[in-house]
């Protein structure tokens, strides 16, 4: 039983890892700093490890999907991230892909459509 749970846990975290970039990009249409992003995500019930999220932000910036700048006016210096033009384009494309994937999976799972969510 616990072995089953472990397998499930590994598969779920793999699914989450696959969708993490989309989740993060979706919240960065407005400027966010690291901690505010964590909070925003957890308000939507997506709980991301901070030590996973922060390096990801830097990687996305390095890939020029995000822009960043330091703001010094607040309680402490903070680095803000926001989608770059390339990031906005990617978010749109990735969202389309996501929609298609959901459609396909629903079909595979024998659901008529998004609303056909059975118990």
């Amino acid at each position: 039983m616990s072995e089953n749970e472990a397998t499930l846990g590994a598969l779920v975290s793999e699914l989450r890892r696959g969708t993490l970039v989309l989740s993060v990009l979706s919240q960065l249409t407005e400027r966010q700093y690291g901690y505010s992003l964590v909070q925003r995500l957890s308000e939507q019930e997506l709980f991301v490890d901070q030590s996973t999220l922060y390096p990801l932000l830097r990687r996305l910036e390095k890939q020029e999907l995000l822009d960043s700048d330091w703001t010094l006016e607040e309680a402490r210096p903070r680095r803000y991230y926001v989608l770059s033009p390339a990031g906005r384009k990617l978010l749109a494309d990735l969202t389309n892909e996501w929609d298609r994937m959901v459609e396909v999976q629903d079909r595979l799972l024998g659901r008529s459509g998004h609303e056909g969510k059975k118990e």
Binding site: Y33, S51, R78
Partner: protein, 334 residues
Amino acid sequence: MELLERYLYEIGRRLPAKQREDIVKELRSLLGDALDARTQGRDATEADVEAVLREFGSPAEVASRYAGERYLIGPRMFDLYWLVLRIVVLCMTGGLLIALAVGLMTDTSTVGGAVRRIVEFFPNLLTAAFTAFGYVTGIFFLVERAAARKELRIPLEKSEWNPKDLPRVPVREDRVGPVGPIVAIVFTLFAMWLFNLHPELVAFMYSLNEGWSNLVQIPVLSTAALSAYLPLWNVGWIAGLILQSFLLAKGRWQFGTRIAHAATQLFSIGVFAYMMAGPVLFNPGVFQNLPDLEVLNTWFLSSYRWFFVFLIVVTFIDAVKSVVLAVKGRVPKT
């Protein structure tokens, strides 16, 4: 706050120097936010800091997330690395074995010396193997780093390939493992070194009195004959080296290599025929100076030419076999 700085220092220590300052600065800010969220305006205690850090993860873990996946030698190059490593270590072992054999044959001054050579061989082999391993790994590591830095994308597979181009699974007699070609290459290189640079090592060692002192070294090869034949041998050896390298790379006999092999065998037959008719390869005095070996001398002179006849026949059979297999491989199986 001292705990926080200790934590940041431990992370920074594990980060690449170029990004260290920037990442630590950002982490300090982020940890400050996390701490504020926890304390909600009251003063932070040591316990608060501890809890935040515990949630964040150990310095090693956090730093490794920033570094991404790091390889000594990445998957792009591992196959090549492994192949090169095996070839280098095999060649080196072969070379050291040959050196041991040569050492034992040339330096027979004392029994103790021979024993010493054999005993020393194993630690030497081990040292040489580790050195070779170190060099190969080091060179590949540098290439890996250079490739990673320049974002050089060495593709795992060729960009386009056609499944129809996949070669047929070789039949049993077409398969070539790596050991055969490597051994052939090592021995060919050794022969080239020996006959071109140190023909005097091919000699009979003869002791005039009992014991191992007063060793007389009688060269076996006639210099005149050797200078006539050596260029031809070199051509054959180089052709052999090229052929064996191909076999090593492809792992199978193919039409081209079969035909090339047959051609080199025909060339060898020509050389053998020339050697049969030409000057005797061996030093004419080699057996005359050895009083005990007069029987051997007459036997040798009568069989010298027949030896070449034998060689020619064997080589010819091999060449024919190679052509037959080449043609057979071309005919599609029904």
